[in-house]
């Protein structure tokens, strides 16, 4: 006598095995998804980076910009982080850098990039007459 028969003996209607199977199936699906074949984080994009890596990414952009002064390239690189305006990513990086006591030189580079980005006309903004 299997465990299924033991359960059935206690089931007085046909809904009970349905619910039992449903729960059992869902558990199997979750166990498969979590244990047998868990999610592998591959082929991600920079917009999914953890905040410390993201900050370092922005810092690298700022370091590179400090050397080559290529604002277009800096904007392209920052655009990989997502749909927000590039200066917002730099602002977020500055906030993180302040919280985690980054060096003054790093903050200066981030600041310099943020200042240049903020001087750019905002998309959809009202231009001068």
């Amino acid at each position: 006598m299997g465990p299924g028969s033991y359960v059935f003996e206690r089931m007085q209607n046909k809904l009970a095995p349905l619910i039992f199977g449903l729960v059992f199936g869902a558990l199997i699906a979750v166990a498969y998804g979590w244990l047998v074949r868990p999610v592998e984080y591959i082929d991600t994009s920079p917009d999914s980076l953890r905040v410390d890596f993201r900050t370092d990414y922005v810092l690298m952009v700022a370091e590179s910009f400090a050397s080559d002064q290529d604002l277009t390239l800096a904007q392209v690189r920052l655009a990989a982080l997502g749909p927000q305006a590039p200066d917002e990513y730099v602002t977020q990086a500055i906030d993180y850098a302040l919280e985690h006591s980054f060096s003054g030189a790093d903050l200066e580079r981030l600041n310099a990039l943020a200042i240049v980005l903020r001087t750019l006309p905002q998309p959809g903004g009202i231009g001068p007459p």
Partner: protein, 252 residues
């Protein structure tokens, strides 16, 4: 019998429902990921950015820390290969040059500071900032002059090459030097240091038989003309095409 049927039916519905929930209602969102999970093209961009940042600040320790986030990376080799891919694809020369310089710097051997473990998150403020790593560089402003021009007959080379070696005034190899090659119907360029195993100041260009090339360093006004694959005598009187070896040195 009908109970088993309902059990199997319930199981199937539960399974389908679980997968529907996992894949459609609440699908996985890729957040909080690390750089080593990036897609290949983003990974290449990230490595290029590490190289650009390195060239900007000359901080090899920091560059190593960042590269350590990619545990499966064969650093110097992969960076050099990436630089060549970028050049071949016509992408930013500055980034290719930066990758070349970083590959060269890394191939110079371990530095005193130990490489951080991968599990450590990059917190740039806490990265030690030693004085910039000493790597051979060209003295700004000083011109490069051609100091030797030799015909090379090496049967081991699979194709005729223009081999270039660039040295600074102190006889140190200079990586990342752009070399321009022009011929009747086109032009191309390459950088020194992309094959660190052959020397940091080394670069080469494959010649086509019957084409005459002119070569010039980007930082030099001295073109080297009439470079063409020449005939070499091989064993058994079977000729093959020979190469050129050009050495440039920076004037003191």
């Amino acid at each position: 019998m009908s109970r088993w049927l309902f059990l199997i039916l319930g199981f199937g519905i539960g399974l389908a429902g679980g997968l529907y929930f996992a894949w459609l209602v609440s699908p996985v969102e890729y957040v909080e990921t690390a750089p080593d999970s990036l897609r290949a093209d983003f990974r290449a961009d990230y490595l290029g950015l590490i190289a650009s940042a390195y060239v900007s600040g000359g901080d090899l320790v920091r560059a190593r820390t960042r590269l350590a986030l990619f545990p499966d990376l064969d650093t110097a080799t992969e960076l050099a290969a990436l630089a060549q891919q970028r050049l071949a694809a016509g992408l930013a020369d500055t980034e290719a040059s930066a990758l070349s310089q970083l590959a060269s710097a890394l191939s110079q051997g371990p530095i005193r500071t130990p490489v951080p473990t991968v599990s450590v998150s990059p917190t740039p403020s806490k990265t030690p900032r030693p004085s910039p790593t000493r790597r051979p560089t060209a003295t700004p402003g000083a011109a490069f002059l051609l100091t030797s021009r030799e015909r090379i007959c090496d049967p081991l080379l699979s194709q005729p090459l223009i081999q270039v070696v660039v040295l600074n005034a102190a006889q140190g190899s200079v990586p990342g030097q752009e070399v321009i090659v022009v011929w009747d119907t086109g032009q191309d360029h390459f950088f020194t240091g992309l094959k660190p195993e052959l020397g940091l100041g080394y670069g080469d260009f494959a010649m086509t038989e019957g084409v005459t090339y002119t070569l010039q360093l980007a930082d030099s006004l001295q073109p080297v003309t009439n470079l063409a694959a020449h005939e070499c005598e091989g064993q058994g009187d079977e000729p093959y095409l020979g190469s050129w070896l050009l050495q440039f040195e920076q004037s003191p």
